[in-house]
């Protein structure tokens, strides 16, 4: 936030054109900068008397102190659990009386927050948000309760096939790197986190310079500006973040089988992806949509589910983190056909890497990804989430208007080249259950 940005409140009209001829839709994103220099992206939509605020502080679980995995997660769980003069009960009472929804969570790279309020309760909502960010209490009884709840959920996860497969995948892919630590922490680490750790984490991470804010709904820029200063202005200017090394996933080519007595085996698979800022990213996004991007038309869905009935769900997605890029997918299938399902997935990945998509698949995928984008912009919550992500990814306030042309520019040659680049590195696979037809490459 530099001083010369103080006066700007640029309004940029973003017209999203789908495959249809619908011309009317425009979402106007305003860059609002408060007198104190706090920036937020605003979409004003007065049709419904609600305000949605989403925000993120860069520095999530990767900033957990060594040996104290879960610090960010425990901190986030306590920010809305008593602040200022209001203990947990009084704080919850103030939220409930006005039906204000406030929540925080940590992911690998960010601490994220979300506020929802009826516009008539705006001032109360922003005040409670201010308190939660600047004066969280961390009362011992609340800390112990939240800790116990997290430990309970970790114990539950320790016998859940999906959680085991996911945890095993990440700790293998990022052994020795902060991304290999579970965001929620472990049964060993969570008991060691002290209130001093929570306070230290808050002071290090909740700052203005690493903060991105989006506001959507029944509020205008002039009303928002002083509220931004009131809520976020008292935070320290700069965070104190530990530098994190970039990393690539390890263990490619390995299949790790964890035995668990369940009828259905859960499978996670993945490999290196392509960075968000890489010129090939959008092509990779289109290629991944064709492979397993969640639509009923994807190759994995067709081959694994539609033709053979091997699974209820199968998909994969590109994951872009601040310090790594990945593609990760998953499925769940009966024990006696797990080997067959996994071989099929690997075959499809290999086939796409070698030959690329067909021209028809590419055209369909491009069309889908452009046309479907409007569906991401039909609720305040979805728009607020998108605006924070665009800021975290540093994509520019005009990204939404540029996106259709970026997807349109993906060529068949490019898709073939990037399919090879994306999908030809081998897979790290974790399987949990009693799978038949799969040999583990490590003892377990």
């Amino acid at each position: 936030m530099t001083a010369n940005s103080l006066l700007r409140s640029a309004a940029i009209a973003l017209v999203v054109l789908g495959a249809s001829a619908a011309p009317a839709f425009a979402t106007t994103i305003e860059r609002v900068v408060s007198p104190g220099g706090i920036e937020a992206w605003l979409v004003r939509e007065p049709a419904v008397p609600l305000i949605a605020v989403d925000f993120a502080f860069a520095g999530g679980a990767v900033q957990d102190p060594a040996g104290k995995a879960g610090t960010a997660n425990l901190t986030a769980s306590l920010l809305d659990d008593g602040a200022g003069d209001l203990d947990s009960k009084a704080f919850a009472d103030r939220l409930e009386r006005k039906a204000i929804e406030l929540g925080f969570r940590a992911d690998r790279d960010n601490v994220r927050g979300s506020l929802r309020t009826l516009s008539e309760n705006r001032d109360e909502a922003f005040e409670l948000l201010r308190l939660s960010l600047t004066a969280p209490r961390f009362d011992p009884s609340n800390v112990e309760l939240n800790r116990a709840q997290i430990l309970s959920s970790l114990r539950r996860a320790s016998t859940s096939p999906g959680d085991i497969a996911n945890k095993r995948w990440w700790e293998t892919a990022f052994e020795g790197h902060p991304y290999g630590r579970p965001v929620d922490g472990t049964l060993e680490s969570v008991p060691t986190i002290t209130i001093a750790d929570l306070r230290a984490y808050t002071h290090r991470v909740l700052a203005r310079q690493n903060l991105k804010i989006a506001v959507v709904g029944d509020i205008d820029a002039e009303t928002l500006k002083p509220l931004l200063d009131r809520v976020f202005g008292a935070l320290p200017e700069k965070p104190d973040l530990t530098p994190i090394e970039n990393a690539a996933p390890q263990g490619l080519g390995r299949r790790i089988v964890v035995k668990l007595d369940v009828p259905q085996a859960v499978v996670d698979f993945g490999g290196p992806g392509i960075a968000r800022k890489d010129p090939d990213f959008m092509t990779a996004y289109v290629v991944n949509h064709i492979l397993g991007g969640g639509a009923f038309s994807s190759r994995l869905y067709q081959e694994v589910r539609e033709k053979r009935g091997l699974a209820y769900s199968v998909s994969d997605s590109l994951i872009w983190l601040d310090h790594a890029a990945l593609f990760i997918g998953g499925t769940a299938t009966r024990a006696d056909r797990t080997g067959e399902a996994l071989d099929l997935i690997e075959k499809e990945i290999h086939r796409l890497a070698e030959a690329g998509p067909t021209a028809a698949e590419l055209a369909e995928a491009k069309n889908y990804l452009n046309s479907s984008f409007a569906l991401n912009l039909d609720t305040s919550s979805k728009i607020a989430g998108l605006l924070v992500q665009l800021q975290l990814d540093d994509l520019g306030i005009d990204y939404i208007s540029k996106r259709p042309a970026m997807i349109g520019a993906v060529t068949l040659d490019g898709a073939r080249r990037v399919a090879k680049r994306l999908l030809d590195s081998g897979l790290l696979v974790t399987v949990v259950g009693k799978p038949e037809g799969i040999a583990s490459t490590t003892a377990n």
Partner: protein, 449 residues
């Protein structure tokens, strides 16, 4: 154990103060063939949610054929004579749309979310598959395996899911709500194409369905498009009378215990038989909405505050009332113990909280807080056209009217403390309940049956 859907809340002027916006203007009409159509305007984005709700669910299945309604839901994506194979799904994908479907005890729904200009095309495709489904064994057999994997995922792999099935079966002594919507596994395995088609012909008919269109649309145009598509489909079945075997007087509290070595966090939960949206007396369902909220929604609810915070014997606790059913609804309470607390002690704590509300009712402050929250939900829902479409569809699919949905906030406003206490006295009746224990093993101290 959250609410399955935040059912049948509503949308009219929904805030305590004067300047809150009123909800959208709903249009409702019925075509000559009996199909009801509801239009919910939302002009903020050029998209539309198109849903069809068939008034048939798992409670309408023939005994021994559990899972058939849900299996047919899956098979509805296999194509028609006019639009063979995956034509429908491909058309949805080609315009960037989303689609899916769902089945409950009482209804089966299909939806697409698409750019608004494609609404009529979606109506034409949906009208076509109302009667034109073509099934071969080549597509039916793999899909049965898909459903079995869905059962594995939701139930077989999941101890809490298995306990829920056993509790439903114990709660209903006679009514088909005791059967799992997805079906009992050994019955799913035997379902076939001919049974699915017979079920389809018996229940999929315009007079047995409701279409909900929510989004950037004009009601007159929707009506014209509906006439031109759905209006051409002839009735082929009678209205589903929905007369199911009803419950006898329930006299004995039931308990079930599910033990699985994978259970690392035990829990106790209880279902009480309660009146549904269509069987409750005037004001009774709304009183139960408030009761469930005061008992178990949020950090200051009775159960959470007492068991988790004050007594410190639980890690979580709550309550819910899922009323969107035809014949009966469930009022549920649940809690997870802290390590060192037995389920018996925790259940005693739950019972004490319930007894206090039965004996002394709720406070005015609790009533106000619950009303504010429930009424605000109706405003929050306006932010999501798909949520609005679900509220209206779910209500109409069980025989409610648009007006009943619209006036729900007013009825919540009218709830009195006496009504809440009366609802608690009447319906928190152990004789009409089942209590379920999720445990690691049937050790003596955890054995409750």
């Amino acid at each position: 154990m959250p609410k399955i859907l935040m059912l049948v809340l509503a949308l009219t002027a929904a805030s305590a103060s004067a300047h809150a916006a009123s909800g959208p203007e709903i249009t409702d009409f019925t075509l000559g063939n009996g199909l009801e159509v509801v239009v919910v305007p939302d002009h903020r984005a050029p998209v539309v949610t198109h849903m069809i709700w068939y008034k048939v669910g798992s409670a309408d299945e023939t005994p021994g054929k559990s899972g058939l309604a849900h299996f047919l839901e899956h098979l509805m994506f296999k194509g028609t004579e006019k639009n063979p194979g995956a034509t429908f799904s491909q058309q949805v994908a080609a315009i960037g749309g989303q689609e899916n479907a769902f089945t409950t005890s009482d209804y089966t729904g299909f939806f697409q979310r698409v750019p608004r200009d494609h609404l009529k095309a979606m109506m034409a495709l949906e009208a076509d598959r109302m009667t034109g489904l073509v099934l071969t064994d080549d597509v039916t057999r793999p899909e049965l395996n898909v459903v079995l994997e869905e059962q594995n995922m939701r139930v077989a792999n999941n101890p809490a899911g298995r306990l829920g099935e056993q509790m439903d079966a114990a709660l209903y002594l006679n009514h088909p709500y005791g059967r799992p919507v997805i079906g009992w596994r050994q019955e799913i395995e035997k379902l076939n194409r001919d049974e699915a088609l017979a079920f389809y012909r018996r229940f999929y008919s315009p007079n047995n369905a409701v279409v909900v269109v929510a989004g950037d649309v004009n009601p007159a145009e929707v009506k014209a498009d509906a006439e031109a598509t759905y209006g051409k489909v002839a009735r082929r079945a009678d209205n589903n009378p929905r007369q199911r075997p009803m419950e006898p007087v329930q006299e004995a509290p039931r308990t079930v215990t599910l033990a699985d070595s994978r259970v690392e966090q035990p829990s106790v939960s209880r279902y009480y038989l309660a009146p549904s949206d269509t069987t409750a007396k005037p004001g009774e369902g709304e009183a139960l909405d408030v009761l469930a909220h005061v008992l178990g929604s949020g950090a200051n609810s009775r159960l959470y505050r007492t068991l988790v915070v004050d007594k410190g014997i639980a890690l979580n606790a709550g309550a819910y009332y899922s009323s969107n059913e035809i014949d009966y609804a469930k009022l549920g309470v649940y809690a997870s113990p802290k390590p060192g607390t037995s389920l018996r002690e925790l259940e005693g704590g739950i019972d004490a909280v319930l007894a206090d509300v039965i004996d002394h009712g709720i406070t005015d402050g609790e009533l106000d807080r619950a009303k504010n929250r429930l009424i605000a939900d109706a405003v929050y829902a306006q932010d999501n056209q798909a949520t609005l479409a679900r509220w209206y569809g779910a209500a109409l699919a069980i025989g409610e009217t648009v007006d009943m949905v619209r006036t729900w906030p007013d009825r919540i406003r009218a709830v009195t403390p006496d009504a809440v206490q009366q609802a608690a006295r009447t319906w928190l009746d152990r004789r009409q309940s089942v209590t379920g224990y999720l445990v690691k093993s049937l050790q003596p101290e955890e054995k409750h049956s």
